[in-house]
């Protein structure tokens, strides 16, 4: 048996098999890793954000104004005064496993948003500008 030619024949088939297996396993890895699983976490977070916005937008105010949100966004001074109570209200309203950030025309309330997490967003229009509620899982 000629040493070189026999080795050549064997390794050619082995290489073909290896390439084939690699191709098939590549497709498999695609299925196993990259099929998006719509577990509904973003939809759920959007629903939480929307609900929190609605609750704020229809809640009665602490002092004056039509609703809690219109009271908070009435002026910078009112925002500064109501900031802590708005934060308390959100902590009470949202489930305990959620963190939040509310962007108002006068500044944010809540926590800094970490990068790379799924975030649910809802925007409520008020007379003084939009208020955006963002929530994410702690």
């Amino acid at each position: 048996m000629a040493e070189g030619s026999a080795r050549g024949q064997l390794s050619l088939a082995a290489i073909e098999a290896a390439v084939g297996v690699l191709l098939v396993l590549g497709v498999t890895a695609g299925f196993a890793l990259s099929v998006p699983h719509p577990d509904g976490s973003v939809q759920q977070l959007d629903a939480y954000a929307h609900d929190a916005g609605t609750v704020l937008a229809t809640a009665p105010p602490r002092h004056g104004g039509a609703t809690r949100l219109s009271e908070v966004t009435a002026s910078r001074a009112r925002f500064e005064r109501e900031r802590a109570s708005l934060r308390r209200r959100l902590v009470r309203t949202l489930p305990a496993n959620l963190l939040f950030r509310v962007e108002t025309p006068y500044g944010p309330v809540g926590y800094p948003r970490p990068p790379g997490v799924a975030v649910g967003t809802a925007t409520i229009a008020t007379a003084n500008g939009p208020v955006t509620v963002e929530v994410w899982y702690a």
Binding site: A2, Q9, V21, V24, A47, D51, T58, P60
Partner: protein, 238 residues
């Protein structure tokens, strides 16, 4: 010595090479077939996993959206549920109010406490919403009214019930809420009335009469709602 080598013993080197190649092709086919089998199993699992609960999730999502909608059967306004409606849910009334739930196993819970359960919903897909549960209170005020003496209600309310029983000789012509005339009768108001007022401002009630109105001659009943937050969970399991 393998079978291929035995068969190829008396032949030329080129044929031996061919036999060895056949063995390698057999092994290669086995490997590729095995990999294909693994691939098919994985893709089958992936498709099954994606398809299995999409319908349940959609139904749970739409049911939860319907429960919190402002014109929903249980809602007082958007994201606010009426406590009496929520507590009196039965499987039959739930399916009447939410026809989409018919034929499915649905569980509706408020803060982990099951309100209604149709079918055998244990696992399945759950959608959670933040709601307020409102309980109606009734507060009656019967102060003395007069010129410049108004009643400012401490809590906001959407409707007022008024009972006007002026003393003899006194005619109550108008009742104002926040300066707006809500009741008027030049010949005199008497009896029970229901008045809608804005929920978005504090209501002040003023009564115009041609004489003094002692305490109790105009009784104002307000219905402020007391809300508490809760988490609504709608679970659909097939």
């Amino acid at each position: 010595m393998t079978a291929a080598e035995v068969r190829g013993a008396g032949r030329r080197p080129s044929e031996q090479r061919g036999q060895a190649n056949l063995l390698a092709v057999g092994v290669a086919l086995l490997l590729v077939t095995g990999a294909l089998g693994v691939a098919v199993a994985f893709s089958d699992g992936a498709f099954a996993g994606v398809d299995r609960t999409a319908g349940d999730r959609r139904l749970a999502d739409s049911l939860a959206a319907r429960v919190v909608a402002s014109d929903g059967p249980l809602a007082a306004r958007e994201n606010v549920l009426r406590r009496d409606a929520v507590e009196n849910l039965t499987p039959a009334s739930f399916e009447d109010a939410f026809p989409a739930a018919r034929g499915h196993a649905v569980r509706v819970a408020l803060d982990g406490h099951t309100l209604v359960r149709t079918g055998d919903a244990t696992g399945g897909e759950t959608v959670r919403r933040i709601v307020l549960v409102a309980r109606r209170q009734s507060r009656t005020y019967a102060p003395a009214f007069g010129a410049g003496v108004d009643l400012t209600l401490p809590r906001r309310t959407g409707a007022l019930d008024l009972v006007v029983r002026p003393p003899p000789g006194t005619v109550v012509r108008t009742v104002r809420a926040d300066g707006r005339i809500v009741l008027r009768d030049p010949d005199g108001l008497r009896g029970a009335y229901r008045v809608r007022v804005s929920r978005y401002r504090t209501t002040t009630v003023a009564v115009d009469a041609n004489g003094s109105l002692p305490a109790g001659s105009v009784r104002v009943t307000a219905h402020p709602s007391v809300t508490e937050k809760a988490t609504l969970a709608v679970t659909v399991d097939g």
